[in-house]
């Protein structure tokens, strides 16, 4: 190849390419089924959402309103009420994801016995296997004002004055939802079980044995090792979990539909829930599309910014 003069390459390349297409056109048949479904259920809805965000749309009739939907969002008191809630849920989600699962992962990683490591990993994975709906509904039962175990425990230990209707009291409902993992599919208190633990553990397990042995020889204590060796080396996992948690919380509303539907009042309203209600209860699908577009743009910005900000200073050391 290297000995061929340039002219002859220029001559043969188009012919070869043509020959290859002639031979490999059945390859397109391999990607057609995937693309048919993608066009129907992914690309078309994607562009339709942007298009209809400029319209009054009830699913059948359309009337062009320009940026009217976006203007209406600025004065929407339901959306305004949802912003502090989403901030609370995101802050709680990030705090819980960054603390206890990381601590537990570090402790499991430092267990001497391989068998204990596997047992704990197994035990903390099982709650992920239970259907998400079951977890949330069991929590609803725990929060039950009359029959719920949380209030019974508070009454039993003499803290009855703190017992309340956790999901119906507008001052605490949003925190009660935050405690069971926010709007998304988290695992509630004590927050150790779940995907975050598995991700941290995978990161810790990929640290080379030599680094850890060397630190042990140098007499580094556990705390020093955690902050100066383990944490910098699993920066990729920490970043992944941070971005994932934020993005999940911004768009999630499954838990809210199931537990409070945004109430009492708007005390647990989140943007996703507002979008859902506008689209499927009030028939304002154009407006709902506009909310979806704004959420999408916010999520893209957060992803790009956090990926740039938290980029590792060491080159070629990506996650």
């Amino acid at each position: 190849m290297t000995t061929l003069p340039i002219a002859s390459i220029a001559e043969t390349t188009p012919m070869r390419a043509r020959a290859r297409i002639g031979k490999v056109w059945p390859v397109y048949l391999f990607i057609v089924p995937a693309f048919v479904l993608l066009c129907l259920f992914c690309y078309y809805p994607f562009f339709s959402a942007f298009y209809h965000s400029l319209f009054d749309w009830d699913g059948v009739n359309t009337r062009f309103v320009g940026l009217g939907n976006f203007q209406a969002m600025l004065g929407d008191e339901v959306l305004a009420a949802s912003l502090p809630n989403i901030a609370i849920l995101t802050a709680m989600g990030v705090f819980f994801a960054m603390t206890l699962p990381l601590l537990a992962a570090e402790i499991i990683f430092n267990l001497r016995s391989q068998i204990s490591q596997s047992v704990y990993r197994y035990l903390f994975t099982i709650p992920l296997v239970l259907p998400w709906v079951v977890t949330v509904l069991v929590w609803r039962f725990l929060y039950d004002p009359i029959d719920g175990p949380i209030n019974s425990i508070l009454n039993a230990i003499g803290l009855g004055q703190f017992a309340r209707a956790w999901l119906a009291d507008p001052t605490v409902a949003i925190y009660a939802i935050g405690m069971l993992g926010g709007g998304g599919t988290g695992v509630g208190f004590p927050f150790v079980a779940g995907l975050n633990l598995l991700i941290y553990l995978a990161g810790l397990n990929s640290i080379s044995r030599e680094v850890i042995d060397a630190s042990r020889l140098d007499g580094v204590n556990a705390l020093q090792r955690f902050f100066m060796i383990d944490l910098p080396l699993i920066r990729g996992q920490v970043r992944t979990i941070l971005v994932l948690t934020i993005i999940t919380q911004i768009q999630a509303f499954q838990t809210i539909i199931l537990l409070t539907r945004g109430g009492p009042g708007y005390s647990t309203m989140v943007p996703g829930m507002a979008m859902y209600q506008n689209a499927f209860e009030f028939g304002r699908m154009g407006y709902a599309s506009a909310i979806g577009v704004v959420l999408f743009v916010v999520m893209i910005i957060i992803t790009v910014v956090s990926l740039n900000r938290l980029r590792s200073p060491v080159e070629g050391d990506e996650s």
Binding site: L40, Y44, F46, S48, A49, A104, V133, F280, G292
Partner: protein, 290 residues
């Protein structure tokens, strides 16, 4: 001298106990066990209550009471059995469709060069950044126009479409790493593209296919908002929406309600027990997708 000697011997004599404690990681086990107990407490209550009648329930939720009321499971399974069967059908169909469609496309992207390949692949991968919250409303209107409302196909087809994006991403990487010699040899023997796909690439990709199966299984089994929009009749409900409505039928009777929760947890638990290693791998891999 003597004092120094003495101190050495005393520390030596004292050492075994703390060292043994350290060896046993007692503090670490204490922390982790407390976390395990707190994590499982809600599910333990679900389990005990599922065997109780109302009187036993008001007595205590923490321990099993006798006689255990297995009839809770009978009345629960009469309702939940249907939801589980529906979920199994929808999930299995979604998994099969996802595997077939994504492995075909991934094979083409991994092993062949063809015009517009990079553009087409980029078009698929960029969908990983599109959240379902953006496409939900138009997709709902589309499915309604297609006449798929209140049918399992309204769940399966969009399910395959959504799950295959990440599956193509995973499978393409894996299939691209397979050694070219295998395909070369088959091609020299006159094997067709389809032969290369079905008899070489697919069998060799089994480890990554299991990851695709697990991520699709979890996503499909737990899907809540979309089935809530598409399915109206009770007889077609899947587990998540079924349980959400099931709650209203037994509103004051906690026993059968919890029995229903336990029953609906069993299928995935069974899969996990049988395939725990692949399962944990699939969970971790699935997390990276947004």
């Amino acid at each position: 001298m003597t004092t120094a000697n003495l101190s050495v011997t005393t520390t030596r004599a004292k050492r075994p106990l703390p060292e043994l404690l350290a060896q046993a990681d007692l503090g670490k086990h204490a922390f982790l066990l407390i976390a395990v107990v707190l994590t499982y407490a809600p599910f333990w209550i679900m389990f005990t209550v599922s065997f109780k009648d109302q009187a036993q329930f008001y007595h205590s939720v923490w321990e099993l009471d006798f006689p255990m009321h297995f009839e809770n499971y009978e009345s629960a399974s009469a309702v939940v059995g249907r939801y589980i069967a529906n979920s199994v059908f929808v999930t299995v169909a979604t998994i099969i469709g996802t595997i077939v469609f994504s492995s075909l496309a991934a094979f083409a992207f991994a092993r062949y060069r063809f015009p517009a390949k990079r553009l087409l692949f980029w078009m698929i991968i960029s969908l990983l950044m599109v959240p379902s919250i953006l496409t939900m409303v138009p997709a709902f209107v589309l499915v309604r126009q297609m006449g798929l409302m209140n049918s399992h196909w309204g769940l399966i087809l969009p399910g395959i479409a959504g799950h295959q994006v990440f599956a193509i991403f995973l499978l393409r990487g894996y299939m691209a790493s397979l050694p070219e010699e295998l395909f070369e040899a088959a091609r020299i023997d006159g094997a067709s593209i389809f032969h290369c796909y079905f008899h070489i690439a697919l069998p060799l990709s089994r480890p990554i296919l299991s990851v695709v199966v697990i991520t699709t299984l979890l996503g499909s089994w737990n899907d809540f908002v979309w089935p809530l929009l598409i399915i109206n009749s009770d007889s077609l409900r899947t587990v998540p929406i079924g349980l959400a409505f099931f709650q209203t039928q037994f509103s004051t009777n906690h026993g059968p309600l919890m029995a229903g929760y336990v029953l609906s947890s069993l299928p995935l638990l069974l899969v996990f027990v049988l395939t725990s290693r692949e399962f944990i791998r699939g969970l971790t891999a699935g997390a990276v997708k947004f």
